[in-house]
Amino acid sequence: MKALIWCAPYKVKVEDVPEPKIINKRDAIIRVTSTCICGSDLHLVDGFIPFMKPGDILGHEPMGIVEEVGPDVDKSKVNVGDRVVVPFHISCGECFFCQRQMYSCCDNTNTKPYIGETLLGQATAGILGYSHLTGGYAGGQAQFLRVPLADFNCQKMPQEFEDEKLVFLSDIYPTGYMAIQHCNPQPDDTVAIWGCGPVGQFAIRSAFLLGAAQVVAIDDEQKVPERMQMARDAGAITIDMHDEYVYDRLLDLTGGLGPDICVDAVGMEAHGYTMLETIYDKVKTNLFMETERPHAVRQALMCCRKGGTVSIAGVYGGLSDKIPMGALMNKALTIKTGQTHVHRYVPELLETIRQGRIDPSFVVTHRMPLSEAPHAYNIFREKSDGCIKVVLDPAA
């Protein structure tokens, strides 16, 4: 089968590899019908999460048709022929964390927990196509995919919607939604969202779905005008980080209080706001004084209103520096974060699609065959050709 392979930082290629087989008795094999490229894939490909091995298959946003199930799969939950979305993380449904619906923290699915334990103190769940930090599982940018503990992880989908309306239930729709929902938004709240990438776009729409009074989106009007326009189309007020003072605008928009909820939907490869800050982080990352560029978190902490909530959806992997702890502590802020607990949200978000309250395909700008995935990675990284979200077709 064809699969997208990581070879070296910034280098991926499509290669012929063997088809996956059932390894454990609760595995299923999925024929992938749609699979997407995510901002997290960029962190992995670019080497910011340095646990990829050459030859690893990428991809964690797949859906498809079940082709084969192992002998111990509970067939009342999933069976051959079912149409399923596969959450990006693999969960067991049984452990301490799964019982508390913290599925991305599952204790039983990461095959190499000792890496996470050394780097993070404890390991996260296994994640598809997401480096050996999260178990080294072969990913979903491929024609076929093995799904462990399939009766828990395969999310059955109805036939009536096309792939593009459903596939984002694997990651970015629940991610944008959780980023707002777990901050417990109130009807008079202002939500500010850094980053108008796919995750930011779903956070903006989720904030409205959850009844926020005002949504403000921050990104770069010169680099990504189409993303800013998409944010405005959803009803958000936009701030151009390139030309405007983000802090001043946010305070003006909130009667001097600052936003109640501040969401980082940017992550570890953020662009700096000032020359000084940018140079600072460049020098520090070079000296391994930090491993990432936390510009958006820093600004979110400074802008957030006293007693407000900062929600970190953007991914970080290691050590960040110059986090304004003074702001965090003295302003009585709450931090909400985590890899998304996808399984928790799939039923209610599927319902929002059914009810026509959202059509998740709004975010798709590019549909390409899997064979063109390396080009797709380039335009998505460069934000060129108006690229916001790419859906790959493995059959084409």
Binding site: A3, P9, F51, C92, E94, N108, Y137, A138, R146, P148
Partner: protein, 286 residues
């Protein structure tokens, strides 16, 4: 020492005495596989290792990437980035950081202390909450023939009567392939505790104990496993490494974790045999 305190110490990433916790053996293996060209050769003692392994992985990776990034840019800042990246990769690969040396920082000594303890035998205590009843966990463990399902170094165990069993463990072929011994149960408290030991005339001095105690709330059963392995009398050195590889404590910790996973989910997560690419064009299975 109370049980909870002891297991808390076992779980510390860095314990007070500078010991680094279990993961570091497989991590070292990961560095060796991942960046073999950067792994120092044995006997290369020009600079002593003073950067702990977890940190080295990140240094190597961050350094290599930065060097690559810097070299891709043909201007002055690019050159500067490449230089720093190279230094980082050096630090990660050799385990030696000139800056740490000048600051008198040594994050690796604890690991070396611990390694010399290997030659004195292995004693490991691990505990996990497992979301199953003491009854289920006890009865699975009480049938020693189940142990090879989660203890990676065991090839087979055969019960011979109610209290006696015959154990076969795998060792690398160059060391003879197998070690065998007979064991007997020394304590059996249904749903609470099992203890066993190798018979006194065995090639190996081994004893073990597992306790099952109800955990707080809905956290399941607190399972505490205590295992001891000692080289046969008179025989010194690396005997245990033959059985467990370089890091016996880590291996045993992972064994107990496999028991938890097997009990909670019915399986042990695995990626053995999944497809992967070669970057040349003909994929393989790993």
């Amino acid at each position: 020492m109370p049980q909870t305190q002891q297991s808390a110490a076992n779980r510390g990433v860095h314990t007070g005495d500078g010991r680094q916790r279990s993961g570091e053996g497989p991590l070292r293996q990961f560095i060796q596989e991942h960046v073999p060209s950067l792994t120092p050769q044995n006997g290369h003692q020009a600079h002593r290792q003073n950067v702990a392994d977890g940190e080295r992985v990140v240094s190597v990776a961050a350094g290599a990437i930065l060097a690559g990034l810097g070299l891709a840019r043909r201007d002055l800042t690019g050159l500067a980035i490449a230089g720093v990246g190279g230094a980082l990769a050096y630090r990660g690969a050799t385990g030696h950081c000139p800056m740490y040396q000048s600051l008198g920082v040594d994050t690796a000594t604890g690991e070396q202390h611990r390694r010399s303890a290997e030659s004195r035998g292995v004693q490991v205590t691990e505990s996990y909450y497992i979301r199953k009843s003491p009854e289920e966990l006890y009865s699975f463990w009480r049938n020693f023939e189940n142990l090879p399902q989660f203890m990676e170094h065991l090839e087979s165990v055969h019960n011979e009567g109610d209290r006696r069993s015959h154990w076969v463990a795998t060792a690398p072929a160059i060391y003879g392939g197998q070690v065998e011994w007979d064991a007997e149960i020394t304590a059996d408290e249904p749903n609470r505790r099992i203890a066993w030991r190798a018979l006194p005339d065995s090639d190996i001095q081994h004893s073990g104990e597992v306790r099952f105690q109800p955990g707080p709330g809905d956290r399941g059963t607190n399972v505490t496993v205590n295992l001891q392995y000692h080289p046969p009398a008179g025989q010194v050195g690396r005997w245990l490494a033959k059985l467990f590889g370089e890091e016996p404590e880590t291996q045993i910790r992972e064994d107990v974790r496999r028991f938890k996973r097997l009990m909670e989910t019915g399986e042990i997560p695995s990626i053995k045999g999944q497809p992967r690419g070669t970057c040349l064009g003909h994929g393989t299975r790993s």
